[in-house]
């Protein structure tokens, strides 16, 4: 008979366990461990806001101080989820306001947040410290002003790539003169100009300010003035770098940067003109993170900058860097862990091919610590993928976007099956994979067989048949999120692997061959899944066998959701449509 640990001892042990994955495991051991764990969990993460009710979360975790929520599916980032689908933050805020008044931190991703919501946050949580909104929408600068003015102990206010109704730059002036606690401020997604004097004063009275990301409306002069007041910054997002600069002003800018001896992360650089890059040279040796994805700088100037960044771990850049520039990165940036190369010409008929597969091969060969890749280019080869897999078996995240759909290996004209097989087989710790290019069923057989640790998989314009989906659902053991678009997957694979869906967070399929009948059947068969058909044409008016535009399936203990818009069908909403006549195979 095992000795029972006194709960005080267990509590103490648990205080060292931060990771929610570990805590989830702890809570499964036995009832008393479940109880002790839930009463001590401070940071709660809910990956799908519809998987559980806010009340249930508040009830389970009375000591909650930090809540992280995610709403819309990932493909919402690429305009695949129609407006009005859902992901409302309000019910959560209402619930927490009533039951968890000691909440200090809220982080929301892809959710609809209103000004009312923000005002509620400001009014309800006395010790509120951290608000991070990523890819959220539905609020205006008035809501931000409410947070700024009311939250006395606010440390972090970050608006990352949100769509905000910008009513002007006044919101900044709402930070009271007594507020000195700010550690991080990110308003890079706002358009309106803020009063530079307000910003200067705020920065001057915030000695703990470590991270500041300005919006494009802040001029270079403004930047200089801010940097002078905040030389302790470790993270900086500059404003617009495009204005004409007189020589003395350039010297001032250089000097301001050279005084920022702790700067590790640099972003913004909107429309930076190459002649201003030398102002950054002094901070390069200390940089670990550089985001040049909004900078239209060409290869020679990029190389001149990057060769000074020997400590760089994270680089986001446009494909203007070219293969040659990536070759330089491979030789100068030996600490590189994450590389993202974005397309400068997203139009499909672009004739310019600034980067090829060779660029990624250079970096894979030269940067031994490389573990995360997002790479956009027009076409690829199996040979390159095989080399990358061989050189970098430590890859954790590999997202390749071959922009030309169905593009085969352009040297051999074969599908990219062999290449992705090498990736799946060779990179044993791969957790996230996005595939593209011409792929047959075989590729997915390999992925199903070898990619045992992949948790998130994205597929577009690929495949021959249902077999592909079947391979993935029956093979990838750790699969949590699967998102598919424009692939000929259909009913059979989905229905055969229905049980798998309960082990995953969600499945998204758009422009595939899933019939309405199959959706109904799946929904009836699996009551703990919410099966949503997102379709412009109401399913009622169409035959059962006709394919639906989009489906979003996710496991839930909250039951069907009540806030679906017109264009989302669920079995619960329209049970009168009745039982499907399709037989289960």
């Amino acid at each position: 008979m095992a000795l029972r640990l006194p709960s005080k001892v267990l509590k103490h042990i648990l205080s060292f366990i931060d990771s929610n994955e570990d805590r989830n495991s702890v809570s499964l051991v036995c009832k008393s461990w479940f109880e002790t764990e839930r009463k001590t969990r401070k940071r709660v993460f809910v990956g799908n806001c519809y998987a559980v009710t806010p009340a249930a979360v508040a009830r389970r975790f009375p000591a909650m101080r930090s809540l992280t929520l995610k709403g819309k599916p990932h493909f919402a980032d690429y305009n695949l989820v129609p407006d009005g689908w859902g992901g409302y933050a309000c019910p959560w805020i209402e619930s927490m306001a009533a039951k968890s008044p000691y909440l200090e931190e809220i982080r929301l991703k892809r959710m609809v947040v209103t000004d009312d919501c923000l005002e509620r946050i400001a009014a309800s949580f006395k010790n509120f410290k951290v608000l991070v909104l990523t890819s959220c929408e539905g609020f205006s600068t008035d809501g931000i002003a409410a947070i700024a003015s009311t939250c006395r102990n606010l440390r972090v206010l970050e608006l990352r790539e949100c769509i905000v109704e910008d009513l002007g730059g006044d919101w900044l002036s709402y930070f009271p003169e007594t507020s000195t606690s700010l550690v991080s401020l990110d308003f890079s997604c706002l358009d309106s100009e803020v009063k530079i004097s307000d910003l200067e004063r705020l920065v001057s009275r915030s000695p703990n300010l470590k991270s500041l990301k300005l919006n494009p409306a802040v001029t270079l002069d403004g930047l200089v003035s801010i940097l002078r007041r905040a030389p302790q910054l470790t993270e900086l997002g500059t404003g617009s770098f495009a204005a004409e600069l007189k020589p003395e002003a350039f010297t001032k800018l250089s000097k301001a940067f050279s005084n920022c001896k702790q700067l590790q992360s640099l972003s913004g650089l909107w429309d930076v003109l190459p002649e201003y890059l030398p102002a950054l040279y002094s901070v390069c040796p200390g940089l670990t993170s550089l985001n040049l994805s909004y900078a239209t700088v060409r290869m020679p100037d990029l190389v001149e900058l990057l060769r000074r960044c020997s400590k760089l771990q994270k680089l986001w850049v446009m494909d203007l860097i070219e293969d040659k520039g990536l070759e330089a990165v491979a030789s100068y940036c030996k600490e590189l862990r994450e590389l993202r190369v974005f397309p400068s010409e997203p139009d499909l008929d672009a004739t310019n091919i600034p980067v090829t597969e060779q660029g990624l091969v250079y970096v894979s060969k030269g940067c031994r610590k490389l573990e995360s890749v997002l790479y956009f280019c027009v076409q690829f080869t199996n040979a390159a993928l095989i080399t990358i897999a061989r050189k970098r078996p430590n890859l954790k995240c590999f997202r390749l976007c071959v922009i030309e759909p169905f593009a085969p290996d352009y040297k051999t004209n074969e599908p990219l099956d062999k290449g992705f097989k090498a990736i799946a087989e060779g990179c044993k710790d791969l957790r996230r994979l996005s595939v593209s290019g011409l792929l047959s069923d075989k590729a997915f057989k390999y992925i199903g067989k070898h990619a045992k640790k992949v948790r998130m998989l994205s597929i577009a314009f690929a495949g021959d048949s249902d077999l592909m989906l079947h391979h993935l659902l029956s093979g990838c053991e750790s699969l949590k999120k699967l998102e598919i678009r424009d692939c000929p997957f259909g009913d059979t694979a989905l229905l055969e692997n229905a049980a798998k869906l309960e082990t995953m967070r969600s499945l998204w399929m758009s422009s595939c061959f899933v019939s309405f009948g199959a959706c109904k059947l799946l929904s009836q068969k699996m009551p703990r899944l919410n099966v949503e058909v997102i379709d412009e044409h109401p399913p009622k008016t169409r035959p059962e066998s006709s394919p639906v535009e989009r489906i979003y399936i996710y496991r839930t203990v909250a039951g069907p959701r009540m806030d679906t818009p017109e264009f989302v069908w669920t079995l619960h909403k329209n049970p009168e449509i009745g039982v499907s006549k399709l037989a289960i195979k």
Binding site: Y78, N79, P82, Y294, P346, D347, F376, D486, C487, F567
Partner: protein, 158 residues
């Protein structure tokens, strides 16, 4: 019911139950998955490649600026009735006037912009949407952005 984002061009908008059932079509991606590479209507899509809106919008706004830096933009020029065409670098010209002057010299006949009539050779262009348009309506910079090829029409064909 209108969606505010357009996903209709590549989603199954015309659902015809007489189409072959999906399991029959192996690589036949007839329903919605065809990605016509030769279609003239390859305008910018909002959902492919998978980049976020902010980046997409920024790049769209920038294309105009960048074109000015490009050192050459070669387009084909045909005169109606003449099977062999010419190639022209539009970046070599400062505007419509110098373009017309040069073309007139190249084809040895006066060429104008504007409406077709029975007297003149008139210059037209094909834009990136595949439509044939009258030259001269839009600012030169925008023209460079959208022109794909040029055609000089004959006076008698009316």
């Amino acid at each position: 019911m209108e969606f505010s984002n357009s996903c209709s061009s590549f989603s199954s908008s015309s659902l015809d139950s007489t189409k072959p059932s999906p399991s029959e079509s192996s690589v036949n991606l007839s329903l919605s998955l065809t990605f016509p590479s030769t279609s003239p209507q390859r305008e910018a899509r909002q959902d492919w490649p998978p980049i976020k809106s902010r980046l997409r919008d920024t790049l769209k706004g920038r294309r105009l600026l960048r074109r000015r830096d490009d050192t050459s933009l070669f387009v084909k020029v045909y005169m109606e009735g003449v099977p062999i065409g010419r190639k022209l670098d539009l970046c070599a010209f400062s505007g419509y006037e110098s373009l017309l002057e040069n073309l007139s010299h190249m084809f040895d006949t006066p060429i104008i912009c504007g409406k077709r009539d029975r007297k003149h050779h008139v210059l037209t262009y094909e834009d990136k949407d595949g439509d044939w348009m009258m030259v001269g309506d839009i600012p030169w910079d925008m023209f460079l952005e959208t022109v794909r090829r040029l055609k000089i029409t004959r006076p008698e064909r009316y």
